[in-house]
């Protein structure tokens, strides 16, 4: 392997999106990079070598483009349905037919995709931010505070969150922000537990003891040893959180408690699927259902590929 210096300011920026150049194998041999960063590049390479992970990224990118850029290319009236043309089968002018209110189904699929993806991502980010902070504080402080904090998590984890979300949804009007907040606020518990557990095991590991004995400060231990090692759990969990949130919003929509008409999400679009199936309106069921499955599956693929890529014990090189 050849040595190559990353000299450009863009290439050195830690937050920069991984370009194709950065993923090039020779970048991995750069020995001047900090230890943690080399690990990430190695993980990224393992990730791109995973077929399922790459497929997942491709599917997710496709649906993000489809939902957000699609309406710019494919114009359809999503504010007023054409009541004279309801439940039309796919044909000229309507590639996926029209729904029960006369909306163009392909355009509706894009609109619903926006809501589902946005809520999925917002909810997951909310959950991860709260969870990481909470878990790290509990794990690092330990003692009585840790016990109290984790009992609080136990209390909330014991309450079936989807049922509470349903209960709240009967009372309050739903919009993208409120649904993200409700789902996110009940989903931070698992990441909090994961991060706390990770911090606890890492704290007891020999390399942390060694670092402490060599005189490292608490801050140094956290920044150099705990975060780089615990972050992989978080990254993996983030993608699963997105998947779970998308399922949760589909669940709410299916039970009629999602976004109010004329807004829609994929679950809402499936709400009458049983009637559509008996009537034979397959175009109102399968495109939405398959999109939903593909997006959730893509998130799960990405999560699994990250998990494999970041788990050092499973890494072969």
């Amino acid at each position: 392997m050849t040595q190559r210096q990353n000299s450009g300011p863009l290439a050195a920026a830690p937050g920069a999106a991984p370009s194709a150049r950065e993923r090039a194998p020779e970048a991995l041999a750069d020995r001047d990079q900090p230890h943690a960063r080399r690990g990430w590049l190695l993980a990224l390479r393992t990730f791109t070598e995973s077929k399922l992970g790459t497929v997942g990224v491709a599917i997710l990118l496709f649906f993000v483009l489809f939902s957000f850029a699609g309406p710019l290319v494919y114009h359809s009236d999503q504010t007023q349905g054409n009541l004279l043309g309801t439940d039309l089968p796919p044909g000229a002018g309507h590639p996926l037919g029209t729904d029960a209110s006369g909306y163009d189904e392909l355009g509706r699929l894009m609109l619903g995709g926006q809501a589902s993806l946005e809520i999925g991502l917002f909810a997951a980010l909310i959950a991860i931010c709260i969870g990481v902070l909470y878990g790290a504080i509990a794990g690092m402080t330990g003692g009585i505070l840790d016990g109290l904090m984790m009992r609080f998590v136990d209390i909330l984890l014991s309450i079936p969150f989807l049922l509470v979300v349903l209960l709240l949804a009967t009372k309050y009007r739903a919009n993208i922000l409120s649904l993200s907040l409700i789902i996110g606020f009940f989903s931070w518990l698992v990441p909090a537990r994961l991060v706390r557990g990770e911090v606890l095991t890492l704290r007891a590991r020999d390399f942390v003891h060694a670092s402490r004995m060599l005189g490292a400060s608490d801050l140094h231990t956290v920044v150099r040893h705990l975060i780089p090692n615990a972050i992989s759990v978080v990254v993996v969990n983030l993608t699963f959180q997105v998947a779970d949130a998308i399922i949760a919003i589909a669940f709410l929509g299916f039970l009629g408690l999602g976004l109010p008409f004329p807004h829609t999400d994929w679950g809402d679009m499936l709400a009458n699927a049983e009637t559509y199936l008996t009537d034979g309106y397959w175009w109102l069921v399968y495109p939405v259902g398959i999109s939903l499955i593909l997006v959730v599956m893509a998130c799960n693929f990405i999560g699994d590929a990250w998990r494999d890529a970041l788990d050092v014990r499973l890494r072969e090189r």
Partner: protein, 315 residues
């Protein structure tokens, strides 16, 4: 071990008290005036105020909570003004049917997912693993109602093999005696659970395969089969116990969807109908029961894990 159990029991009771506070506050925030619910829409504000006063609903919050907790400890879950029945009677009427559906599905899913997950881990990256992964990924990514819909479409609407609706019998015995009606709901529920459990089982087994005890076992000359049955099975299925304890809330949600989809008169359908009626006493009672079940499930799971794995007891 006894000390661990006592400690665990104490925390479980503490969590239960916390749960009761949370559900009480939820009920209070959502339905702050039970008088309005009890007396109906025509009641005058004076009548509602008088009712609330007579029944102690205008007391300070902590007094109301003690009253609420007292009722709970006497096993009184409140009264459904919409159905004109006590919540206890409603729950008692519907619980056995839900227990049957959920119990059968849960047992089936465990029995199916352990061998699948272990097989996948041991034969990692073979065609069999890929096929099982594809199947479980698809199922796992599918909302349970969509899987149910597909099964209804295939087996009820197209092939007419099974009815689209679950058994409507009022007694559990009647439901058990009507297996044709229960196959689709049980299969749907089981498939959704298997997808999650087998994925977990696979990664747990893979984690264990990388552990040194497996290498030791192989090094001392055990055959692959012996390593599997003597060491790997126990160690890998251990986390599954915890997972099942933790997945009770998810099971309740899945049960709700499946009962709604197949119109099966259990607790899930009761909850769904109560959502439409805004029957908050029923809703909160079911949430409370779900929480109590979860606490008990976790308690039993933790004790079971500690009984099998001495390393856990230290913490």
């Amino acid at each position: 071990m006894a000390k661990y159990i006592v400690l665990r029991l104490v925390t479980a009771v503490a969590v239960l008290i916390g749960v009761s506070i949370v559900t009480f506050l939820l009920l209070h925030i959502i339905a702050s005036s039970p008088g309005a619910a009890a007396l109906g829409q025509q009641a005058t504000p004076q009548a509602i105020a008088a009712y609330n006063k007579a029944n102690g609903y205008d007391d300070p919050l902590q007094v109301q909570y003690v009253h609420y907790l007292g009722n709970l400890l006497h096993g009184n879950l409140g009264y459904s003004y919409k159905l004109n029945q006590s919540v206890n009677a409603l729950i008692a009427e519907n619980a056995p049917r839900t227990l049957y559906l959920t119990g059968v599905s849960l047992v089936l899913s465990i029995l199916i997912s352990i061998p699948i997950g272990m097989y996948q881990a041991v034969r990692r990256n073979t065609i069999g693993d890929y096929a099982a992964t594809a199947g479980s990924f698809t199922l796992y990514s599918m909302p349970s109602f969509f899987l149910g819909l597909l099964l209804i479409q295939a087996f009820a609407l197209s092939l007419h093999v099974f009815p689209a609706e679950a058994s409507q019998s009022t007694s559990v015995i009647g439901v058990i005696l009507d297996p044709r009606g229960m196959i689709l709901p049980i299969v749907t529920f089981t498939a959704v659970n298997v997808a999650g459990f087998s994925r977990y089982m696979r990664s747990s087994t893979i984690d264990n395969l990388a552990q040194e005890y497996v290498r030791t076992a192989k090094a001392k000359g055990l055959s692959e089969r012996q390593v599997l049955w003597r060491h790997l099975l126990k160690n890998s299925s251990l986390p599954l116990i915890t997972l099942i304890g933790l997945s009770i809330p998810r099971l309740l949600a899945g049960n709700l969807l499946i009962e709604t989809l197949f119109n099966y008169p259990g607790l899930g359908l009761l909850f769904y109908n109560a959502l439409g009626n805004e029957d908050y006493n029923v809703l909160l009672a079911y949430i409370l029961i779900g929480a109590v079940l979860t606490v008990l499930g976790n308690l039993i799971a933790d004790i079971a894990v500690a009984a099998v794995d001495p390393r856990v007891r230290v913490t």
